[in-house]
Amino acid sequence: MPVLLKIRQNFRLRTARGLFLCVLCAALMGALTAGASGPVHAMAEEEIILQSNADGSVTADLFAMDTYMSLKAYGKNAKEALRAGAEEIRRLDRLLSTGREDSEISVLNKDGAAVLSEDVFGLFGRALEIGEETGGIFNVTIYPVMKLWGFPEKDYRVPSEEELSAALALADPGSVETDQNTRRVQFLKEGMAADLGGIAKGYTGARVTEIFREHGVDSGLVSLGGNVQALGTKPGGKKWKVAIQDPEGGTDYLGVLEVADEAVITSGAYERYFEENGVRYHHIIDPADGYPADSGVVSSTIVSSDGTLADALSTSLYIMGTEKAEEFWRECGGTFDYVLEAEDGTLYVTEGIADRFESTRKRVTVRKDG
């Protein structure tokens, strides 16, 4: 068994050969344990269907992380790349989903402390980091407040002031203790809970394109429930065209972005909300008061080569509003760009993407030097 052990230790081998060996081993293990019920069977059930298209691309539909995902890859290894990408999505879903009782995040939330795997610990650390950078607006511990509103279970209600202030006291990333050496995370207050949902899809998109690249694919597009991550350009060298949905619905888009090797991630109140007594309550909660954000922004799109960052900031800038967002963008010095739509319909577009964002709407270019 020493060979197997070695492969297990180097599970994240970067070469296609390594992956192939891993898959082979998994298949062998699967064959050996055939007949026994459990995860092996569950995985076989989730076999993905690949579709070869006239333009040379291979695509796949996937339903995971409570959303619809579509993967597309070009090149001779496209099929293997898609299968490996889909497997990575399922693996991360099993680790990160608050909807699964046995996910690492659920175990942490139940026990108040847990030793996390490398991926989850790394992502948790990143979430805390971005939380600090945004002055607490991105809050990985907001989950008790989200639960109070019923968003995770889709069992909506408006909480009382008392309930909210109690839950807000638990939404305190300063009361999270992390240990780099043991990868242990511990909550210091009883009842705290975390949710990586605010960055999980961005991170997953980035991981999938990384896996595509490891398989020798240099052109692909991944959309995880409207969170888009592009790998390279289209095969001919042209940039990918990503349209931003109009929060009002209708037949038009806010505009079209041209991107290469970047993530494009949009947040808006329209994605999830409920109504009570004629008032609309949406799912982007401002950690300052525990109520749905009301900053005057109706749609927030981030463009960045860092998918994880783009995901976190799309909600953060929605909460900030156009003025704070502008300040924050200047401070961050070129790590991302944005398109924000204000209530009056005006689009605020940062200069890094201004010349590759096409739109017929009223727009203002946001510049570094004001």
């Binding site: 993905i48 269907i49 690949l50 579709q51 006239a54 333009d55 796949a60 539909d61 996937l62 339903f63 409570d66 959303t67 619809y68 579509s70 597009l221 959309s223 409207g226 969170n227 888009v228 289209k234 001919g236 042209k238 990918w240 065209k241 990503v242 349209a243 931003i244 949905q245 929060p247 619905g249 209708g250 037949t251 888009y253 079209v256 494009v264 991630i265 949009t266 808006g268 994605e271 749609s299 799109t301």
Partner: protein, 126 residues
């Protein structure tokens, strides 16, 4: 008719022709057909050129797709949220309507023989 009038007419015709060309160019991303997939498996491909009503019944449930005046949209669904019936009508290549509970995706595609469009939209964020 004077020569100048003829020139003017020719000029106007040319301008109109150019305008028409530009307008046509702007419509190149238009989908010629819609495909419907359930769990990634294609269950139907229908042209958008003719009006049509399609029932899609699978193990997950019932949907009804309507194709009217070049646009495809969901008009019936017995899923709990009915969100698919509120989604934007499909007219362009790459546009989708998703019924998550029924694992169903309708997508605008190029019709058979329609040249693949280089300048169409590749994805929608939101």
């Amino acid at each position: 008719m004077k020569k100048k009038d003829l020139l003017l007419l020719a000029g106007l015709l040319l301008a109109a022709g150019l305008a028409a060309l530009i307008l046509m160019a702007g419509r190149r991303g238009e989908a010629g057909a819609v495909t419907v997939r359930v769990d990634g498996q294609v269950v139907g491909i229908w042209s958008l050129a003719e009006d049509r009503e399609e029932d899609i019944d699978t193990e997950y449930g019932h949907n009804h797709l309507s194709i009217r005046q070049g646009a495809a949209y969901m008009t019936e669904a017995d899923c709990p949220d009915g969100y698919c019936m509120q989604q934007k009508k499909i007219t362009g290549i790459g546009e989708t309507i998703v019924c998550l509970p029924h694992r169903l995706v309708a997508e605008g595609v190029a019709a058979e023989g329609q040249t693949a469009d280089e300048d169409g939209i590749d994805a929608v964020t939101g």
